[in-house]
Symmetry: C3
Subunit: 115 residues, 3 copies
């Protein structure tokens, strides 16, 4: 089971991370092989920057990344929000265009979820 | 044609139910076999409780359920919002994890719509 | 690569059009054959009317339409918002039900994106 979350509003990060947490726990409890990807674009890339992320969210992000959840930030959105790629939380990857990445994931059989 | 609606914000219930209504009528008018599923998670499970749902919404929910529309509430979200399963509107079913249910539906060929 | 955007909140048009712009540019820069469709329902059809659209948005819409991006407005939503079809921006097409169109597009292999 492969799931791709789309986050493009800062106000949706809290729900999105709760979704990731529940999905992650469900995979673990049911001994399922699963893949979880989070793709952020528009203003939502701001909270992936070390300069703007809240401490609690950063700890959770670190934890998820160490457990294999992939976080991607859209380069167009980083430019539009003047976030340097070097300021992203460690482990967050950059894609040239978030929308294209979201479409590619769907093409690879990922379910799309928009919290 | 199989359609799965995802509701995770209380403010989106009104639009989501209008979507269900239009889809339901379209199937009826065009004599189409269709399947409609609504999966609620996060705060949106609150309005599926008898204690919080508005009367007009409850009547519409009863009607849709009697006509075969399936409504599911996420157990994680019910716990998080301290809603007892016994307090759900009659006919609303519970799934262990809303996100997993949404992914499964997409895997079964349901279109995903996020009102 | 085929991408279908779903817009059902007026407040999401700005992000949706930025998404279209980025997707369009990505296709062009990478010499990709791509198809972009935007389906508006609920209140979001209002801004597709000549009487309500902002000038800058209208210019961008004209540009995208001339470049092959398809914009569809839901007839149910037009009626609900008392928008005459004759008042739609030139080139915007009407579908009987936005949700059905969104489901059909997904059935045709379009990725679904909800900005």
């Amino acid at each position: 089971m492969k799931i791709c979350f789309h986050v493009d509003e800062n106000s949706r990060w809290q729900v999105a991370l709760a979704n990731v947490r529940n999905t992650f726990n469900y995979f673990k409890e049911n001994k399922l092989e699963g893949e979880i990807v989070v793709i952020a674009n528009a203003e939502a890339v701001v909270y992936l920057s070390k300069d703007h992320i809240a401490e609690a969210m950063c700890e959770e992000l670190d934890h998820f990344i160490s457990e294999g959840v992939a976080f991607f930030a859209c380069r167009n959105a980083l430019k539009g929000n003047m976030i340097e790629e070097s300021r992203l939380v460690k482990g967050v990857e950059v894609v040239p265009a978030g929308i294209i990445a979201l479409a590619e994931k769907q093409g690879e059989g990922f379910a799309y979820i928009r919290p």
